[in-house]
Symmetry: D2
Subunit: 443 residues, 4 copies
């Protein structure tokens, strides 16, 4: 059956709403673990559509959250969200930094479980507020300081909601179960693990995560992006003893020197013969006064590896270096895990299926490629992918190209919103045609 004309019409009907959602989320940008307003709006919409919802602690394992802000900051931001229109009836679910939602559509018919994951958080960045920036001139630039959707997650959330509408509309054509996962705190790779640890993809057979942009041109789809580096993100704190640098230098224990030794040691780590490795000390803050032996230091560190094995090698080396530097200066140290992601390759058969279906059914995508260029970034969707694959399922990561006004993580980032409808149509199409997967591959 050729569903194209019908589907095209359905998509057209929600195109305006996709833009409205995206711009609303953009205007009220909320960074990681603070997505209180966003989450209530998402929950409300999905509930009204008739999805079965799990939220907050049901889908987020508390102790697996990484890089969580302070209790005070969480409370302040929840109040901020209320003032900005968060739907208070949903708020208790998300309170305290549990801003995740899993919506399930059970068709009642036999069939596999297919999951889509989108992320909802903004970056810790001030948005450009000038006349060269469309979100400003068209009045939807961020109203929150140091929070900006400069990576496109506002679009991802809109796509997730649009997909929810369309799938509900076509429920009769579908089989098995569909799960829509709305994840918090992807930036800094902090949130995915807590949802995976809560088991939200343990029953999933097919998995898709998406991203827009990433340098891919409008009209192109990458069916299986697999160049993500495994990563671990830590904060290192050294605590020494202050003393007057002129009068009693010998009474000090110098946390700044420990950090300096560690920063050098970390960068001086050996390369790895099996692939890409990275280490960075991105931030170092130490000391309080010019004439005081510095008694505290903070380093923001990240390791990366082309494989989980390489990242673990780098991370283990980092632990020794950090500890050794503390011993050298006789200072205390603490390591806080702030984020992590894995390396993950998409399932080849699943990529092939997506490639074929899209070429056949989504003419809006003028270019379809199986794998993208090496980007050397990290993504915590990899936790979902690895879990699904470990259970025998199929997983992939799709990139929908779109024009960008500036690079990701830039204060003038914006994108061509036409990509939203294309993405919804593509994901709906794959859902509708999923039964063909077995026909094609399992004979």
């Amino acid at each position: 059956m050729n569903m194209q004309p019908l589907l095209n019409e359905s998509i057209q009907q929600i195109t305006g709403q996709l833009q409205n959602w995206r711009r609303d989320f953009h205007h009220f940008a909320e960074s990681g673990w603070f997505e209180f307003r966003t989450a209530t709006i998402v929950a409300d919409e999905l509930h009204r559509l008739g999805y079965s919802l799990k939220m907050g602690k049901e889908v987020i394992k508390a102790e697996a959250r990484m890089g969580l802000p302070s209790v005070q900051a969480l409370q302040e931001q929840e109040q901020r969200a209320i003032k900005q229109g968060a739907l208070v009836q949903w708020l208790p679910h998300f309170s305290g930094g549990f801003t995740g939602i899993v919506a399930t559509l059970d068709t009642g018919k036999a069939g596999p479980t297919l999951a889509f994951r989108v992320d909802m958080d903004a970056l810790d960045l001030d948005e450009d507020q000038s006349h060269v920036h469309r979100p400003y001139t068209e009045d939807f630039s961020s109203c929150n300081a140091k929070m900006m959707h400069a990576c496109g997650h506002d679009g991802h959330t809109a796509i997730g909601l649009g997909l929810a509408r369309i799938l509900k509309q076509y429920e009769d054509q579908l089989t098995g179960k569909i799960k829509l996962i709305f994840q918090p705190a992807e930036e800094g790779t902090r949130g995915a693990k807590s949802m995976v640890e809560a088991g939200v993809v343990d029953d999933v057979d097919f998995f898709i995560a998406i991203h827009i942009g990433l340098g891919i041109p409008m009209g192109e789809l990458v069916c299986g992006n697999g160049s993500f580096l495994a990563t671990t993100k830590i904060d290192v704190i050294y605590r020494g003893v202050a003393s007057h640098a002129g009068g009693k230098p010998e009474e000090g224990k110098n946390a700044l020197l420990a950090a300096a030794q560690a920063a050098l040691g970390l960068n001086a780590m050996p390369r790895h013969s099996k692939g890409i490795s990275r280490i960075n000390v991105g931030v170092l803050q130490a000391g309080s006064g010019r004439n005081v032996i510095p008694d505290h230091a903070l380093m923001k560190v990240e390791t990366r590896g082309e494989t989980n094995e390489i990242n673990e090698f780098i991370y283990d080396k980092a632990l020794s270096i950090i500890e050794g530097a503390a011993t050298m200066q006789d200072v205390e140290y603490e390591i806080q895990l702030m984020g992590a992601a894995q390396s993950s390759k998409p399932s080849p058969a699943w990529v092939d299926f997506i490639y074929q279906q899209v070429q056949q059914h989504v003419p809006e995508l003028s270019s379809v490629v199986k794998s993208g260029e090496q980007a050397m970034g990290s993504e915590d969707a990899t936790y979902f992918m690895e879990r699904v694959k470990a259970n025998g399922g199929q997983a992939s990561y799709l990139v929908f190209g779109t024009e960008l006004s500036a690079g990701h993580h830039h204060g003038q980032f914006d994108f061509n919103e036409d990509v939203l409808a294309i993405a919804v149509k593509t994901l709906a199409t794959l859902t509708i045609h999923l039964p063909d997967f077995n026909t094609q591959f399992n004979q």
Copy 2:
């Protein structure tokens, strides 16, 4: 002639005023280069007493000021001072960070020129606001955030004004000229050099700088403190190039690593066989984001030496190290001079004279000693001392002991105000008896 009974009575008459002044300055504490309110009150009092005044740019060489705040901060603080009662008729003299005053009493009689120097600035510190702290319970604790008189300069300024009153009263007994120097920005050793470079002690034959406290007990006077370390205080800024640490590490130029190498190199500087040397990197702040090659770094550094020669040795070494670290990481660097002081020994004959006069005429001082214990701090009064001595004059640094509620630079610092009257009496006595110096020493 025995002036003691008369002088004692005069002193007693101003004791209440000494406390009032001290507590007023304490309440409206103003840190270095921001002494707008204090300076206008000092100027007004001295003018009313009939002193001839030089102020602002007349007594401060603009380009010799060190550690000057930003133009914006200077303007904001001037507005703050106005709200807190600065006398606006005097403000134009001090606007823009020229908060120094030199008041001259010319007796019209032949005689040498004697100068006293007091300092007026507070520390960048929050004052304790609790019931254990007298300034709080007696309602004169600082009303300005991050500004507190925790070193006693409020007392020094009060002593200066009290001395002005007494000397005016005894003008007939005096010969030659008396100069009262009110200096800004002693903390961080930033202000003295600019007054010396403006020539304010070029005509001075005898010079006295004072401090209260410093661990000396109430009732004791140190006539010639000479244990100051020469010091240079600099901010070092490295500027590199940011790049994505995962995607393009080779495009970055790492300012954080330059600073880490420099911090190690600075601390690893050789010791000096001729005396005490010190080096400290008290603050290091570098980088912006965990996943970005850090493109900037700031270090707050100070060198010290038992002699100017040693301090210069350390400082010259520091310059090479800072430059070399920049070369290593191919980053730009800038060094900003933030403060400096010299080492200086008091003039022995002058100390002997003070010692004898005080023993003879100031029974309130139960203990009089010629030199104090090694403190290993720094003081920019040394610039005045060295200039006076270079011109053939006599210079010393007096410490008046007093009880302290907490150490200098502590949020609960306070002192026994009885020291104020004792100091005024002592300095007045020395002024009155100055003609005896020649009798004693130059025969």
Copy 3:
């Protein structure tokens, strides 16, 4: 025409001689730039066969030699070579470290120029002298201390001489010119550049360099090894000022600290997003006495890169780091170039040709592959390859598998000598069939 039976017979006739040569060179192992005895024997043999010879300064550009031993060492080793049977009539050509030979066979017929390059030097290594080691039990282990053929260059030289005999025998079948290049000092990648700079391959259309072993099994040929890393090898010398560490620490200029800072900085260099990069400080020797500020330091450093561009990036960074560390300690420094090699990919058409010819004509090679596994080593044959390719020629690097008794550069290294005859046959075959290259590729 099927030349196989005839060629097989010719090869069989020289098999004993191949072993004799190899074992003679092995016994009198000579390390880089000391190949005096080897070179005279090679020259004599080639001359007797009727090749036209260029030797010494004719084929080696003096100032392009890297890692040259001292004049004294060169003289001593030349005397050593004479005692060990060097043919003194040829020695003047090679005296002073010019131990290279190029032998040309000009067929007088039109045709391209084909060059083969073999290397002659041993490693700076003591050979195992025990009963588990065949060269010892069969009496051909090295008689020179710290010199051992532990990489197989003895075999390469034997192959070169064997090939010379065969080609002379089949001269009538050949066209164009054949050049046999015997290179000194490949270990440390020190010699090739000096021959290339002397122009010895400027007229070459087809080029082959060979290696035996490298973990490839007996009977296998890799037709186009291209995994060599570009490399630069330098010695860094810091010169400071000594002084008594207790009595006059400030008078010293610490070369050891400069080297320590540099070693850390070098290892802390950024990774490169475009491929493999390496940096190593393999040796650091500094200082003279425990109580003396160290006035000299030596570092042996090497950089490597997957491409010449990456290696140059690393090398340029290294220069800044080395210079900056000198500035930090106010010491002098000197950098000596000790070796270098390039990255180079084999010419695809030439590899295809070799692959087809060998499969067709050399049944002794049971396995023929086009490219080998990533080894991450370096080879200065790459200089020849890049020059030939730059002139429009074809170049490749062949690896002949053979059994090894221990890994390359190990004191118990030995190999199955059957590989010698196989290699000679293969290279002769390629020479005879070279005219087919045009037929195959240039139509």
Copy 4:
């Protein structure tokens, strides 16, 4: 009784012998723990004079020896000594590095025990062999490579023997006991502790150690040199894992980097407010080949402090730094104690006594001073001094000035031998007049 004329004559009689001894020891210079020949000659002379001898293990505690050479080196040097005329009948006492002697003269009369300590070892230095150097032109320069008396211990030993002769001659005038201590391995401060731990000064009431030269002019005596820095001398060995720097960098554990981090950390140690501190990494040797991750490193380190407390502070800091650097690179480490000395001040009453006696009885000394200038060196005689003082005795360190041809530890060091007789006379005089000490001080 005026003993001067008689004593002068006795001294004159042995002046030639003093020179003979000194030149013999100089010619057969033996460095620390290798003083086999010297010790047998000393023992033989003292035995012939009638002293009661304790030798070798009786006076040296084996496990308290520091910086002992290898067993093989000790054996080789013992053989060398035999060839050079060591008296084999005495050799068994000293075999294995027990080259110390204590000779006692018990007068049988009541009285205190007075001990003199001299040292016998040469430096690890090649002596200048040129016509500008008197020991060479007069044929007594060292015949042993890397062993030279460039510090004057040859003279000290001669003085000890001369004193032995004179005291024996004047035995009737003496009371109590006299002990003559001949110590090995003072250079590197390695030997004294082992003699003190063996108890050789546990019964001593008065103690004198001596040195000649040290920049003091001929004819001057320093009666109480007390400027010695406490010191600890260690060798630090790091052991990592080698691997190919190009092929398997991640498999290495980099001992060179551990040493580089440690060297920086050691030099970057805090200064001490209570006095002089010193740290030096005098030697660093690491790695084996340019392309190998370095698997071993050696550092020769020394700490010094104006007091034992400061030296211990520095040493404890050093231990943490050395350990921390090992942890950073995940390498093993070992610390070997190579030498140590204490700080020690001479006993004031004893110095006063010496000062008075010498002024009265030794006119050859034209200048007598109580204390010398700060030298900032170290001396292990301090172990004897501290032990004697701890037991309630009196101890001092005398320096006899003499002309030097070059500084101590220089290859052209030589001294004016007139000092030998002056020193013997001075020490004999003090011994004879010792009974006056009580008269003077204990009344």
